[in-house]
Symmetry: C2
Subunit: 304 residues, 2 copies
């Protein structure tokens, strides 16, 4: 049985905490995946308590999944990548957490995604899921592009595409823009009979709701709907510009991540899409790679 | 002293309940204003209890202001115009309220604004404040244009202009759009030193916050800032299209209302702005006019 008393059996926890769920992975010192767990939102933007609860819960689930339920959290070396901690106030709050782990190395969700995609090496990632952004790490220098949030930023994200679709459908009811195939699809999907129903259905909805409407914009664009094509062109052009900003930093690899990737990739400019390489590992694995790198640095700084 | 026992001294209450405040007015049967009161949000979109509390509180304040604190609410004939009740579910909820008045006549904030602007007669209103919309009433037929809400609608409103400004400033940090005079003004106004601060300052902000940023877009446009000029042109064009949709219904008068009117009016197309007439009375007075009209109809329908 694996115990923490065996120094050669150090256990690593990788956490990828986003706005809708928190993913955990347990890996051994040989980088083998032993177990995984998923819990609720791990983004401290939606509350410190919820984020820390989700991290702890997903870690326990991953231990159980690994058949290591007897291992205490304080035996784990944790790499924790969280959405939102690019904001200094949230980074400080999370970093001050009296966490239950042996050690905790905190990073942005972007850094761990990038480390995972490029197996711990230099590289860049274009992310389009519920939100959108770019991230590049070359020679330990990090640059973030976008990652501004919704509705004021995150252009080219699922939430952005869905919001544009809803906006154009609402405008078309007033005759301000031309009708679109999206109208009937959206009304049916949201179980609405008219514009009044639609206004009611979308009142106070958040980014995740809008991200769920992104597919119908791509569906309409793919059959030539002009309104949808204009939306897709505008969103793709912004993602192109993220890609070009990242490429200017000369990363050895660029990957595209996030739930919208399969829909959006084919609409990108040739100079962007032909240079994309498949991500090698998940962000959770990236979080473990981050913890290992930080641990290695610390042992160099603090010789025994 | 005025008492309800004197049939000739019927008292009317007019309510204009919006997202940030609820205004009340007390008028006598001769349409003389006796007192006014203001309380918190009266829009049921933000909660039934808050809306009903605000309505009751503003009514009591208006009675006190009129020197009529001894008059009970159940002696008032209330005309109540509320934002949000264009959504049937909210109309039904508010109309089912066990209200404290003698009678309550419920209408949208748009209808009472239009009745006020045109002294109870036919006409149209273009509204651009925190939100935006158009409303026209001709021969008892009402048409609403827009009024979809934020951030998916309300183009050309204060919230929309402010959001566009913030969006363009954020994009300019990433080098995706050209720099704008708005950047420094916005950073200073929100006490931010860089883009990270700005992202933090705007995270999860609502329509009212964005509406407070609208003026700096107009300030920049007025000194020729290209990015701001493009925003103002796009927003003004949508308001023009609202104006043209309303004009097609041949209302005898069209007025423009809402807090953004002084900034936006000069940017509208000539065919729109030359046809605007000043509003005659406030929405609260319009609410009283609505109550009178409904009362008159009822007494025709139900002869003694």
């Amino acid at each position: 049985m694996l115990t923490s008393s065996d120094k050669n059996n150090e256990l690593f926890l990788g956490i990828d905490g986003g706005g809708s769920k928190c993913k955990a992975i347990i890996m051994n010192k040989d980088n083998e995946i032993l177990g995984t767990g998923i819990s609720g939102p791990g983004n401290p933007l939606h509350g410190f308590e919820q984020a820390t609860n989700s991290i702890t819960e997903s870690a326990k689930l991953a231990l159980t999944d690994a058949g290591l339920a007897h291992i205490e959290l304080n035996e784990l070396i944790a790499g924790v990548g969280l959405a939102g901690v690019n904001l200094p106030v949230l980074f400080e709050q999370m970093n001050a957490w009296s966490h239950p782990f042996k050690t905790m190395h905190l990073a942005t969700d972007l850094l761990i995604a990038c480390l995972g995609a490029h197996n711990g090496g230099d590289g860049a990632v274009i992310i389009s899921g519920t939100g959108s952004c770019g991230f590049v790490c070359v020679n330990e220098e990090h640059t973030i592009v976008g990652a501004h949030g919704f509705p004021h930023g995150d252009k080219g994200s699922g939430a952005w595409f869905g919001l544009q679709g809803v906006k154009q459908v609402l405008l078309s009811f007033d005759g301000v823009v031309e009708p679109s195939l999206m109208t009937d699809v959206l009304l049916k999907k949201l179980n609405c009979k008219d514009d009044t129903d639609l206004v009611e259905a979308v009142a106070s909805q958040k980014a995740t709701f809008y991200a769920q409407q992104a597919n119908l914009v791509f569906d309409a664009a793919e059959v030539g709907d002009k309104v949808a094509l204009a939306i897709v062109a505008e969103g793709a052009e912004y993602i192109n510009s993220i890609g070009r900003t990242l490429a200017a930093k000369k990363p050895p690899r660029i990957s595209m991540l996030g739930g919208l990737t399969p829909r959006l990739k084919s609409w990108l400019a040739n100079d962007i899409k032909t240079n994309l390489t498949e991500p090698l590992y998940s962000p959770e694995v990236g979080a473990v790679l981050f913890a290992r790198q930080q641990k290695a640095k610390e042992s160099v700084q603090k010789p025994a």
